[in-house]
């Protein structure tokens, strides 16, 4: 294998960031240029949103449940077991719901986008599409971005609700707590800033998942091996970006909204 010089390596990385930025900007610009491909958006929303329902529901439920199990032990030591609903609600809505849903959808759909578009690139289908007078960015990339952002928003809400249900299940069945108290504490603890933070994150994560998946797919080179590599890189990059972005967005929103 040929070794790459540090300068060449740095150039490649800067070029990749530039290409990614261009793809993301172009896909956003396409939202305001005809044709809009609504049918493709609906098809992608079905594939990405409805198709991800089982993993999002399962992950959300068991995360809420295990959160209740883990925190019950600590809360019991301080005699605050009644606060379990509050803890699960805040953790799920502000953090775990959007992040875990984002990671699940990244694993499922960033890889799907990268492999599908990558296969189209290496078999010249993207070139054929351009040759037939269709802009692949409009036809393939923009509908995936719109569908992912839109569906991840609702999937995160669903994950929050299912996570709270998981916590409720553990609280009532295993810890013998009052379900009404759990839900009222959970509901009362949430303020506008919590919900806003929990709803802004999936929008950003959806954008990251879809643009990263499409970027690696559209830049795939080197046959089936290249498609496999692009698929893996898409999942890794999307997952890491979600976690990193989460920290910065959380800190930013806390500062902007003077919220602790």
């Amino acid at each position: 294998m040929e070794l790459t010089s540090p300068m060449e390596f740095a150039k490649q990385k800067v070029q990749a960031v530039q290409d990614y930025t261009f793809l993301a900007a172009q896909s956003l610009g396409n939202l305001f240029r005809k044709p809009f491909y609504f049918a493709d958006m609906v098809r992608q929303a079905d594939l990405i949103g409805v198709g991800s329902l089982p993993i999002v529901v399962l992950t959300g439920f068991f995360t809420g449940a295990v959160l209740a199990v883990q925190s019950a032990n600590t809360l019991q030591r301080f005699g605050s077991i009644a606060l379990i609903g509050q803890l699960v609600a805040l953790s799920m809505v502000r953090e775990l719901g959007p992040v875990l849903t984002g990671l699940m959808v990244a694993g499922r759909n960033a890889s799907g986008m990268a492999s599908e578009l990558g296969s189209m690139v290496v078999t010249e289908q993207i070139d054929a599409m351009r040759a037939l007078g269709t802009d692949p960015m409009k036809k393939l990339v923009t509908p995936r971005i719109v569908a992912t952002v839109f569906m991840l928003f609702f999937l995160s809400i669903l994950s929050d609700v299912v996570g709270l249900t998981g916590g409720s299940f553990v609280s009532t069945v295993l810890l013998s707590l009052d379900a009404h108290e759990y839900w009222s504490k959970a509901w009362q603890s949430l303020v506008f800033e919590d919900v806003f933070m929990g709803l802004i994150k999936p929008v950003l994560f959806g954008f990251i998942i879809s643009t990263v998946g499409c970027f690696y797919g559209m830049t795939a080179r080197g046959g089936t091996q290249g498609v496999g590599r692009a698929t893996t890189q898409a999942v890794v990059a999307a997952s890491v970006l979600i976690v990193v972005t989460d920290l910065f967005v959380t800190q930013f929103l806390m500062n902007v909204m003077s919220y602790k």
Partner: protein
């Protein structure tokens, strides 16, 4: 082998009044990672003519087609297609121009998640939005032209290599483009299937007068095209008498080391003194 006619508008294809040539390359250079593939290519393709491109593997034949379509920009030089300078056009403006050009890719490049009819109808669907009865009729006409009407609901993966190539031709011709680009349409196919495809290309040349650029490794295909004419009355190929070889709009272009070493008709090719070309065609 007789083949059905394409009952579309058989008038001469649209040609731009302002343009003298369907394609014009002027001193075009391009290199890939320090490898200079084209070193000052210049040639012209008059309207209604078919030009066969020859050269060893890696000589830049497919690159010329992609440059003509604006799928990649040259490093320098000027490329005019249907009267428009593609080297100066933005990608979004190129889409309209590409709508007037049909391209048959080397490996067909059919959309594998779409059926044969959806592949052939692709361009019309993009224009009209819905799969109407009119589109259905035109798809069937195009598939009848390539004798594959029975494959309408099949997926590309269910077809043989030759059938895929014919579907790609149907997809390229459905809108009766002013210019057709063929990238090794007979590559890797058996002689019988190759002859069928060459016959379809000749029919497009002689009946619909479509300008085309044909990349091929098979000299016999180009020679067949140069000494035969498609007879619309009998739907068969008709061999031309020796003195009428130049009556068909067919020319040859040979590339060597990124440069054009021959551009002319079959008679000029037969009388060339160039040792390399003589060895190449022997």
């Amino acid at each position: 082998m007789p083949s059905p006619t394409l009952p579309l508008d058989s008038t001469s294809p649209a040609s731009s009044d302002s343009a003298a040539y369907a394609i014009e390359f002027e001193d075009v250079h391009i290199d890939f990672e320090d490898n200079e593939v084209l070193r000052g290519i210049s040639f012209r393709l008059p309207f209604g003519e078919t030009k066969a491109l020859f050269g060893v593997a890696g000589s830049g034949k497919s690159t010329i087609l992609k440059l003509a379509l604006g799928l990649m920009p040259p490093d320098s030089g000027r490329i005019t297609v249907l009267g428009q300078d593609v080297t100066q056009m933005r990608e979004r403006d190129l889409f309209a121009l590409r709508g007037k050009i049909g391209m048959v890719f080397q490996e067909s490049a059919l959309f594998d998640s779409l059926t044969v009819s959806e592949n052939v109808a692709y361009r019309l669907m993009e224009e009209h939005g819905v799969y109407s009865e009119e589109i259905e009729a035109r798809v069937r006409e195009a598939l009848r032209f390539v004798e594959l009407e029975h494959t309408v609901n099949m997926f590309p993966s269910e077809l043989s290599g030759g059938m895929r190539r014919r579907v790609a031709i149907a997809r390229a011709i459905i809108t009766q483009p002013a210019l057709l680009l063929y990238d090794s349409p007979t590559g890797g196919l058996d002689p019988v299937t190759s002859n069928t495809i060459i016959e379809l290309i000749m029919k497009q040349r002689d009946v619909y007068k479509t300008s085309s650029l044909l990349v091929t490794h098979r000299l016999q295909d180009a020679f067949t095209m140069a000494i035969h004419q498609f007879d619309q009355t009998n739907n068969t190929l008709r061999a031309l008498p020796r003195g009428q070889y130049c009556d068909v709009p067919m020319s040859f272009l040979i590339l060597r080391e990124g440069k054009v070493i021959f551009d002319g008709d079959i008679r000029q090719l037969a009388h060339t003194k160039d040792e390399y070309i003589r060895e190449y065609i022997s």
